[in-house]
Symmetry: C2
Subunit: 351 residues, 2 copies
């Protein structure tokens, strides 16, 4: 899934170059890290990218190993359920027995070997059983920025790896609730990573999101790339946006979860750099040149040119060719507001 807009990384991310195409504390763009990471078990020929019309060319350029026909473009953003159904139907055309892993393209995973082992085990389970599998990230601290998954009874074991029933999905909690979750021990972070057979997920969408399911009929008869594009354009004028979590996972009965202790980071905001690049002696975390004079606790990123701070504290400072952002570190989540603000002021060239 590479359709995100990454508005929280403005000004480095723009509508034409969103977060997944950027290096955020990394040497390669997050999209490429995602693709390269899974290549040992899912070769490029079987990697499918669903992205948006605005950035599809950039995505194709960034991922030259992926076959052109595996790069699918949505004409409008309709959240995760339509995106997943679209991919599932196109994969089903090639292989009705296929198992698919659904992965965001803009997250980081440090423990790659363990991650691939979980995906393999989950894939084998999905191939043999009508289950919808979610990966629950071992929660390390009471984060309020993520949804949580409450694991229930053990459901089974595959290749020596246990998987569990899901007792509940929980929305982003307040800090007290998050602390309670961590205390209980059976709560994981919801990473938005899933494994299932195309059959199972299509069946679930047919049952729980029949309108969405029916709207996708035109895909069935489309054969050529051009026909498929026409069908997609037609479908996307009709469907409503709905997330796979709300639309399917919170409703279906056949959900199981694999605990995943894989060093996952959703790279959710500029403050994520604090976990990704080393600090200087005053706790400033920087990509590119930052000259800190009596300045501490800052997160900075400069693609070109330098940033100098004098007597400043706990600021996010990001500089690109066209814009400079200076933001209180506590308000990193509000950076997405900039898009609206610039639109309001008719400064569209900067978003």
């Amino acid at each position: 899934m590479a359709g995100g807009t990454g508005t929280r990384f403005w000004p480095q991310s723009t509508i034409k170059k969103p977060k997944q195409l950027l290096c955020i504390g990394t040497k390669k763009p997050l999209l490429n890290m995602t693709l390269d990471r899974i290549t040992p078990i899912i070769p490029s020929q079987r990697q499918v990218i669903v992205t948006g019309d605005l950035i599809v060319d950039e995505v194709a350029k960034a991922a030259p190993k992926i076959p052109q026909k595996n790069i699918i473009s949505e004409p409008a953003r309709r959240n995760t359920a339509p995106c997943i159904l679209l991919a599932a139907k196109l994969i089903e055309k090639k292989d009705p027995a296929a198992v698919m892993c659904v992965l965001p393209s803009d997250h980081l995973i440090k423990r790659e070997k363990e991650f691939l082992s979980i995906l393999s085990n989950a894939g084998d389970l999905a191939a043999s059983k009508n289950v919808l599998i979610t990966l629950g990230i071992t929660a390390r601290y009471p984060e309020t920025g993520y949804g949580y998954i409450e694991f229930g009874e053990k459901s089974g074991t595959i290749h020596g790896r246990d998987y569990f029933e899901i007792a509940s999905f929980r929305e982003k909690p307040d800090v007290e609730t998050a602390k309670k979750y961590i205390g209980k021990g059976n709560f994981s972070w919801n990473s938005g990573m899933f494994v299932w057979s195309v059959k199972s997920i299509i069946r679930a969408i047919k049952k729980f999101l029949p309108e969405t399911y029916n709207a996708f009929d035109p895909i069935d008869n489309a054969q050529s790339t051009a026909d498929i594009k026409t069908a997609i354009d037609e479908i996307y004028t009709k469907i409503k946006g709905v997330s796979i979590d709300y639309g399917i996972m919170e409703k279906a009965g056949n959900i199981v979860g694999f605990p995943a202790d894989i060093g996952w980071d959703d790279v959710g905001a500029w403050t994520s750099l604090e976990g990704l690049v080393e600090a200087d002696e005053n706790g400033n975390h920087s990509q590119g040149h930052f000259v800190a004079i009596d300045s501490a606790g800052c997160v900075t990123s400069s693609q070109k040119g330098i940033i100098v701070g004098i007597g400043v504290k706990d600021l996010i400072i990001v500089r690109t060719k066209n814009a400079t952002l200076v933001c209180d570190k506590k308000r990193a989540q509000e950076i997405k507001k900039v898009f609206d603000e610039l639109e309001k002021r008719d400064l569209l060239e900067f978003i």
Copy 2:
């Protein structure tokens, strides 16, 4: 005098484009404003610029109306006394009876008519009497960033305008002392603007700075522009830096002062923009685009591209093609430190 480095306006000012060549809250560069302002009484043919080797070409380009031979370049910075002696000796060659006005090229004056009237009156006095005239700016508030001039008894009147003896020159005071000065009523800000005959100032330098005076002998026999340049290069390897205030004004007995209520602003730091450009509804003063989201009391300048603030207060934010500065507004005076800091880190391309 156009030899300043304007380090407090980094990153907009650089060693190759210092403050006098910039528009700081103005539409024209400060140098051009200085030249244009005096043209009604001192035509371009009689304007002389003393500047530095590094920027002389930029200065000549910025001031095309000034005859090439009136643009004098110093190979090294030696403070104001040598600069003034150099100009005085070169002017004396053309007209031994000349009167000169010495003016910084990077200040602003709002009440131009009154300013020119004072210069005219002072010029007439200087032509007829061996006095060194300083302009004392009517002090409007207890500023601690300026030196002060204590006016004494009335010395005389010319064309209906009174001028005064000088009781003392005072260094930049602390705030309590500054308040006392304002309370007394006979203290003015020292603007560094002077009027005198070339004869009088040369005579004073001979008396109080004999080493400097003697070092300038080679100028006397130099005739061509090339000879003069060679002489200057030779002189400047020998002389020490000394200010006209310390070297002459604080020592000579024939000083008089004209009170000048002329809307003067020395444009001393980025915070000067607060007096030069209008504030938005949150007290942000900006040159160029500043999108303020919950941000107040900032001073911003962007030559290219936009600046966005989120939840920030009382910051100076300046953006150029190569650099971004973010500085606590209380520390505007420390921006000059950046030059040293960048030198230390071998980031010379940014200064």
